[in-house]
Point group: C2
Chain length 454, copies 2
Amino acid sequence: MRDAKKILLTEKEMPGQWYNIQADLPKPLPPALHPGTGKPIGPDDLAPIFPMGLIQQEVSQERFIDIPEEIQDIYRIWRPSPLVRARNWEKALDTPAKIYYKWEGTSPAGSHKVNTSVPQAYYNMKEGVKRIATETGAGQWGSALAFACNLFGIECKVYMVKISFNQKPYRRLLMETWGAKCIPSPSTDTEAGRKVLAENPDSPGSLGIAISEAVEDTIKRDDTRYSLGSVLNHVMLHQTIIGLEVKKQFEKIGEYPDILVGCVGGGSNFAGFSIPFVRDKIVDKKKTRIIAVEPLACPSLTKGLYRYDFGDTSGLTPLLRMFTLGHNFMPAPIHAGGLRYHGMAPIISHLYDLKLIEAVAVHQRPVFEALISFARTEGHVLAPETGHAVRTAMDEALKCKQSGEKKVIVFNASGHGHFDMGSYERYLSNNLEDYEYPDELVKEAQKHLPVVPE
Amino acid sequence: MRDAKKILLTEKEMPGQWYNIQADLPKPLPPALHPGTGKPIGPDDLAPIFPMGLIQQEVSQERFIDIPEEIQDIYRIWRPSPLVRARNWEKALDTPAKIYYKWEGTSPAGSHKVNTSVPQAYYNMKEGVKRIATETGAGQWGSALAFACNLFGIECKVYMVKISFNQKPYRRLLMETWGAKCIPSPSTDTEAGRKVLAENPDSPGSLGIAISEAVEDTIKRDDTRYSLGSVLNHVMLHQTIIGLEVKKQFEKIGEYPDILVGCVGGGSNFAGFSIPFVRDKIVDKKKTRIIAVEPLACPSLTKGLYRYDFGDTSGLTPLLRMFTLGHNFMPAPIHAGGLRYHGMAPIISHLYDLKLIEAVAVHQRPVFEALISFARTEGHVLAPETGHAVRTAMDEALKCKQSGEKKVIVFNASGHGHFDMGSYERYLSNNLEDYEYPDELVKEAQKHLPVVPE
């Protein structure tokens, strides 16, 4: 009997708590600041946009936080998710490395995003919130929130980055199937959207603009709260169920990974996947390499500055200390819409600053090359965002081929690409261009960073 | 601790053999006949279109047939698949029934079809076949075969029913991602296609026409064999892994289903899911109700005649004894493309004739109503084909609500609907019509049934 293809956990083995790295950081996380006063914001500042349950998690210093039973119940629709040995791909790459992937694509919305949309909708429901507004890039987040809101009887309005809205009509339909309303951003429904459209009627949109619209929508309505699919601490917290499962799964087979790889846009799938292993680096002095992969078209970690900046384009959010390309950054229309964000989660930024994690930036054509290589050996057609992790996992496996090292590499297969076949078509028909974000634009955009007393 | 949401099997518990119901039939299956002679066809007649490994399985009377290790290896990418308790849906339907679904949508191609495409490609590879031609309706089969051929290094040509080709461009892209070539049928690549186009340039195509094209393609080329995704005995055989798993899963929780429901087009997902339970009816005199659900627009079991007919439109295939609407049947363009077939698998037809299974026919709008109800409670967005099973499972659960009976209902969730969102859009925007196949046309079509000595 050969080794198992999939390392599975039973539902009883599913983690019952999320892990909060704030309890173990060697240096505390820089606080979010009020843009008017420059002072750290408190729970009251956030109360108009988030329910208190999530605000408490945002600032909690507790190491482990219980996952309510109602949330676990929904997680069990698809969790625990499998850790899979990519043996066919190893063979095709002719590498001595062992490659594993954590497969988050079996959730109803097709990605890791439901790990946080479900608790977010839950805590809103507990506090009587009737309506949630949000933004979405590639549509992964919007559909995940639509799925979760529907389960808890909450109305859901999604501002979807226009270029993705046009490229991915089926994502909108998925949201509508779950009862949500989804419109392209910039829209005429908000001041923020109208302002962008006045300046550039053909704006392809960006996550920053869409966030501005959703936040404005929230502020203007008493019955509405806002929900963010990435960046914030409580989002990273919810996603740790991924990495906690991966740790248990490696324990089951008596292995420990040498290299972890995840893609980063706002940072949530990468954070959730890797943070339990970052803890081992801090607490147990493990030497694991943990690599965040971003697009060269949107290189916030590798080219950005570690400064306070707004989370959105219009400057409506608190200031977050993060690696940023500047909040007025306008990303190239690459096909990994979920990675087109100017900043990076404060937790990820902090871990990168502390050199607990690494970062690399890659082009989208090599990403699709890796996606095709993976699909033709392991079968699954993954999302373009995920492809960034696939590319770097492949590069590390090919380095092992050179060196002969039998490293254990694991990447987070954060979502499937069933709604992204248009980008596969562009690649397969040789119509996909690479974009590298120019250094001059980085410098220019960063001139507009908000000035805060530090 | 509440009961598990999902009943899982380990990879070691995955069945190592397929079950062949031919060994247990109370009355033998009527043989396939040669259209020229009216005599039962032998292996040699089939050798130009199928590899001998599959021909042997087609006629085998062995009760259990080993699944080669190379095939099990690939099955393990997604198998064993979960049996899931639809507790949220039960609650929404307010039924005392227990509803389970067998979830086949986690495979790389998104449906049960890979259960047979993998062994079919394998046996072709073993006999040195370099190229396989096939047809596909909704695209589920074409993508499943593309996936499998790619893994065994076989070239793959898919004739896709034109209406689906146009409605579902992402299905084609999925096939191309796995390296296959996919063209709309009727095409100009074959005599059969050109003949149809000459009579009706706007023909939406049908499975029958597409089969004619693929068979003709095969016959004309020495390096090519044909592959069929449904109807034939060896296809039903491969699919029994579904039902064998379901039996083990119910054994694990000490339950036995009262009602099994599956959708039928050619019959393969229904057969694979239910045949191990049909055996229990034959051998152990179990009283299980086993219900095949078909579209009212294509009611082969409920309105067809049990006669010998061609499997394709042009009359290239052997004659199969089956419930049929006539091989020149032209189905209405309903959205469950995979169910638009004039006939029914001989095994299913035989079991229906022996009253071991039941059949019902439903309209597509109530099907989508059920799909939405399921998606909004259990999350998964299922294929329109699968929706026929969802509808009938729902109807049976609602009957239990009336009667107060706590029946155990299980349906086969044969595939996801990620490539079918266009049909969800039509339903959600109230643009979906129901079609009922007219009795006159049934009578008319059946006048053209081939005359064979019986």
